[in-house]
């Protein structure tokens, strides 16, 4: 199914944008940075064209998609979780190509601060679009009567948590997100750049709980899995 997403649904809040810019919460933000955020928000509203695609996938089908080209880590959370899933879906969301072009134009015009602020805004919005897709999938499960009080949906993406980025090729072959204007480069990079793809795994929330002790966890500086699990188990 195609996900219709309005710009307002992904427009990030000032707090999230400032955090993405590396400005700690509680900082007395200067008027010029506030001005930059306002200008970037205007550009963002003018150029964002969010959309997405979501497709159910069976555990058996995902067992074929997930290994990708055989470059995943030997052990990974997704490999250990998806077999226990009650429902699975593949998804991709994008903010469209207009934002990338606006970014390039700003850099070319040497409006570095504006470009950087717009980039931060778009990064937050792309994640927001993926969050929205997650909620939509949860809503679909509810409509179908497949949702349980203990159930939870969490998304995982190639390039993270041991799922090699080359896994994008099989994911794209199944999902066909070209229909929303997304393509994959030879190096498995999505175009437009401000896009997110991956798998939604639905099941008892406990299946998502994993310790950060995989071989690759030491090399990971993001550690966003910890935040996501904290949110999941605080609901």
């Amino acid at each position: 199914m195609i996900l219709e997403i309005s710009p307002a649904e992904v427009a990030p809040g000032r707090k999230e944008v400032l955090a993405q810019l590396g400005i700690p919460e509680g900082t007395d933000v200067s008027p010029r940075i506030e001005g930059l955020c306002d200008a970037a928000a205007e550009l963002f509203a003018e150029h964002v064209a969010p959309t997405g695609v979501l497709a159910d996938i069976s555990v058996a089908e995902f067992a074929d998609v997930y290994p990708g080209e055989g470059r995943n880590e030997p052990r990974s959370p997704v490999a250990e979780i998806f077999g226990r899933a009650e429902h699975l879906a593949l998804f991709a969301v994008t903010l469209g190509g207009g934002i990338s072009q606006a970014l390039q134009r700003s850099f070319a015009a040497e409006d570095f601060a504006l470009a950087y602020t717009l980039d931060a805004m778009a990064s937050v919005a792309a994640d927001g679009a993926a969050d929205l897709a997650e909620r939509r999938f949860d809503g679909v499960l509810r409509e179908r009567g497949w949702s349980t009080p203990e159930g939870a949906v969490l998304r995982y993406s190639p390039g993270y948590c041991g799922w090699d980025v080359t896994g994008q090729r099989k994911l794209f072959a199944f999902l066909q997100p070209e229909r929303i204007g997304l393509s994959l480069t030879a190096s498995c990079l999505m175009q437009p750049l401000k896009s997110v793809s991956g798998a939604m795994i639905a099941g008892p929330r406990v299946i998502h709980r994993f310790p950060p002790t995989y071989q690759f966890c030491d090399r990971c500086e993001a550690r966003t899995c910890r935040d996501r699990l904290r949110v999941l188990f605080s609901r």
């Binding site: 010029r32 940075i33 970014l103 850099f107 570095f112 190096s187």
Partner: protein, 212 residues
């Protein structure tokens, strides 16, 4: 406040129009262009960099200051060229083959220029051969490579090996960076250095060219 201090202050404030105006004023007074560059523009950016390091200001402030500095450089550059005054070093930068991410590489380029380097930005998806060829043709002393994907990181090794095969590894130094890149990876591929962020990359490049 001297005019040079005023130039530095205008850079710190990110006021490009004032930087250009006071730079023109100082040129008209006959101050050597190199002195205006070092004691005005670069002095201002040095303060900005120091404040950024201690989190007094943030990256958007640095970028506003950089743009302001460029306004002064536009005034100075013809005079620096006329007087044959070299930059403190020439650096070729690019996102490696297959990688279309620009932001990190752009930040490094902006901050290198702010520190007084001449930067040749080859953009993104740059083939190893082009990086090495450009560095040789332009007489650059450093190649800076950026990657945001694990799939594109091997291209960094190709650049290092290409330099080695051409006997240039002692002349042209390499620095690598980007989200998935680590110091261990840099060592593993034989790169000369690793920069963990744009500010650090500038310090490391200064070390590579012996200017710190």
């Amino acid at each position: 406040m001297t005019v040079l201090a005023e130039i530095a202050d205008a850079v710190i404030q990110g006021d490009g129009a004032r930087v250009a105006a006071v730079t023109r004023q100082e040129i008209a007074r006959g101050t050597p262009p190199k002195r205006i560059l070092d004691d005005g523009l670069i002095a201002g950016m040095t303060v900005v960099g120091d404040r950024f390091r201690v989190h007094e200001i943030f990256l958007p402030d640095v970028l506003l200051a950089a743009k302001a500095m460029y306004a002064g450089m536009d005034e100075l550059k013809p005079l620096l060229v006329r007087d044959g005054i070299p930059s403190i070093g020439k650096v070729v930068i690019g996102s490696v083959r297959g990688d279309l991410h620009d932001i990190g590489k752009n930040l490094v380029g902006i901050m290198l220029k702010g520190a007084g380097f001449e930067v040749i930005d080859l953009g993104h998806d740059v083939a190893p051969e082009r990086m090495v060829r450009t560095a040789r043709e332009q007489g650059a002393s450093v190649i800076g490579m950026s990657a945001l994907l694990t799939t594109t990181m091997p291209a960094m090794r190709e650049v290092v090996e290409l330099l080695r095969s051409q006997g240039q590894d002692g002349t042209i130094r390499t620095i690598v960076g980007g989200a998935p890149v680590t110091a261990a990876f840099a060592r593993d591929i034989g790169a000369d250095a690793y920069g963990f962020d744009a500010g650090n990359a500038v310090d490391v490049v200064k070390d590579l060219v012996g200017r710190r």
